[in-house]
């Protein structure tokens, strides 16, 4: 079980997380996370403090993003159907034992940026085919 919180401490959570990090370079994640989003998949996620300070935006037809309304810290990426939530890696109190596992939208990676580690990589087209095959549209919806 890991815990996490925003910068100002208004919102805190606990979560049972995977030990791996998913990195996303899609333009929505880039805009939201200021560069590169790193998410850690959870099996269980509970807000333990400050639920009324939690902002949630529907950033596309299938995903929501949670953040603290007081300090702007990014907390999670959630897909209500089929129902999974990734916490923002930066919000975790303890990141020990985490390793990058996959990079999504690698063809949209900011120029000059590369992880030192080798991971599974998926292009935008491969991500769309995998996550939203019926949609067929770019994830850059907003």
């Amino acid at each position: 079980m890991r815990t996490g919180q925003c910068l100002c401490g208004a919102v805190a959570y606990r979560a049972e997380t995977a030990d791996t990090v998913s990195v996303c370079y899609c333009k929505m994640c880039q805009r939201w996370a200021s560069g590169v989003f790193m998410g850690v998949m959870t099996e269980r996620f509970d807000v333990t403090e400050g639920a009324d300070h939690l902002g949630v935006i529907s950033s596309s037809d299938w995903a929501e993003r949670g953040f603290c309304k007081m300090c702007g810290s990014n907390l999670f990426y959630r897909v209500p159907e089929p129902g999974y939530l990734s916490v923002a890696m930066g919000s975790l109190d303890d990141t020990s034992g985490l390793t990058p596992r996959v990079q999504y939208y690698v063809d949209k990676r900011p120029e000059g940026f590369a992880l030192a580690a080798e991971t599974k990589e998926m292009t935008e087209a491969e991500c769309i085919a995998f996550f939203a095959p019926e949609e067929g549209d770019s994830h850059d919806q907003v």
Binding site: L7, C29, R31, A33, G35, C71, L75, A88, V142
Partner: protein, 147 residues
């Protein structure tokens, strides 16, 4: 060529830079990691080098005695970090590189607070890498606090 304009995820916060940006850096400090949720990539912009389209959706959080952070209150996008302390860097912005419309042609030329970086990830390539102490010395700040 990189663009001079950018916006948050939902489009409520928009800006235009005075100069076309050519490079960006990454900050590994705990506050930037928390604010962005991932990797904060920033474009260093001097005071007066960015103009925000008037909006009531740009929120400010005073994250330390010498820094504030701008974000969109509708979508939570991390838009900028700004140095508010006195000294040579007063008023300097780090504009979130991911909000730029187009980052083509830019180089990734610096990583700061490298001694605060989690062990889980590292970035490939050669570039300037500065510790917290080196950054604070350059900024003329005495404390050990992150911004």
């Amino acid at each position: 060529m990189a663009s001079k304009t950018g916006s948050c995820l939902c489009g409520e916060v928009e800006y235009e830079l005075a100069e076309e940006p050519t490079s960006y850096g990454a900050c590994h400090c705990g506050m930037c990691r928390k604010f962005s949720g991932g990797i904060e990539l920033g474009i260093q912009v001097p005071p007066g080098g960015v103009r925000f389209v008037p909006t009531d959706k740009l929120a400010l959080y005073e994250s330390s005695d010498w820094a504030e952070r701008g974000f969109c209150m509708l979508c939570g996008s991390s838009v900028f970090w700004r140095f508010t302390g006195e000294g040579p860097l007063e008023g300097m912005f780090s504009i979130s590189a991911g909000t730029l419309e187009d980052m083509s042609g830019m180089t990734f030329d610096a990583e700061v607070y490298i001694d605060h970086k989690p062990d889980s990830h590292s970035f490939a390539g050669e570039r300037t890498r500065l510790t917290e102490a080196e950054v604070l010395a350059a900024a003329g700040v005495e404390t050990g606090d992150d911004g």
